[in-house]
């Protein structure tokens, strides 16, 4: 469904450019919410609803609240200009990098489902996970079983980091409420 994908790409590009160019902080926060809406639809369209849920929770909920709390506790700089002035050398460097990525890197990527992709050179490993994950871990989704069982210590470390971030966020919020 290319019409859907192309119009979605135009929407995401427009929101990203607007987020970069606005000068007023509150407007940037609002427009960034629109950007995260587009990204959530894109992740869902690419059949990754778990990533889309994370984007929904982080993009629409946590990021907006934390940024609002930040400008509530500090200041919201008042500006008379609507847009940021465009820095042409920076645009040239970033544009050259994007052109390099599109011309050199993108053609090297393998299409979905191609059997001569590098992952098939270790077909034994891939087949082992596909065939044995349910018997080893009793988890039906192979990706989930790799995350939660085969590399469980790694995921445990990430969970500790997320827990620390949550505790520090609670500390900040508590000070906000009882100030």
């Amino acid at each position: 469904m290319s019409l859907f994908a192309y119009s979605l790409a135009v929407f995401i590009l427009a929101t990203a450019v607007a987020t970069a160019l606005f000068r007023d902080v509150l407007s940037v926060i609002i427009v960034f919410g629109a950007y995260s809406l587009g990204m959530a639809i894109l992740y869902t369209f690419l059949l990754a609803p778990d990533v889309a849920m994370t984007e929904a929770a982080i993009g629409a909920g946590v990021t907006t609240l934390l940024l609002l709390l930040t400008i509530a506790r500090t200041t919201r700089p008042s500006t008379d200009r609507l847009r940021e002035r465009i820095h042409l050398p920076a645009v040239a460097v970033v544009g050259a990098f994007v052109v390099l990525l599109c011309t050199a890197v993108l053609p090297e990527m393998y299409a979905v489902g191609v059997t001569d992709a590098p992952v098939w050179r270790n077909a034994d490993v891939t087949q082992y996970y596909i065939q044995n994950t349910y018997n080893d871990t009793r988890v039906q989704n192979a990706v989930t079983s790799v995350l939660a069982a085969y590399r469980g210590f790694d995921t445990f470390g990430e969970a500790v980091v997320v827990f620390a971030a949550g505790v520090s966020t609670l500390l900040v919020l508590k000070r906000e409420v009882f100030a």
């Binding site: 929101t15 809406l37 639809i41």
Partner: protein
């Protein structure tokens, strides 16, 4: 090949995405914060509709979970920004 019901859902979703681009025009030109807030709120409702249409068009019922989460958090975002503009500092 006759157009199936799934194609109708997907074309409708594409039309909603094109509509979202025009709604985003209001979020960009403003001119007031209230205009931008309303535009993003409409975009959020639009997103929930698009996700529901994708769930029907691609036949993936679990997309509706994402739509539900977005409906809740989009409301939270609008409330937070509204409260911030009315009473500075009282976000929560």
């Amino acid at each position: 090949m006759p157009a199936s019901l799934e194609d109708v859902f997907l074309v409708t979703a594409a039309a909603f995405v094109i509509l979202a681009i025009f709604v985003f025009y209001r979020a960009v030109v403003g001119p007031t914060t209230q205009d931008r807030l309303l535009a993003v709120n409409v975009l959020g409702t639009n997103t929930v509709v698009i996700l529901a249409l994708l769930a029907a068009g691609l036949d993936q019922a679990w997309f509706l979970d994402v739509a539900l989460i977005y409906a809740l958090l989009n409301f939270l975002m609008s409330i937070a920004i509204s409260k911030f503009t009315v009473e500075r500092g009282g976000v929560l």
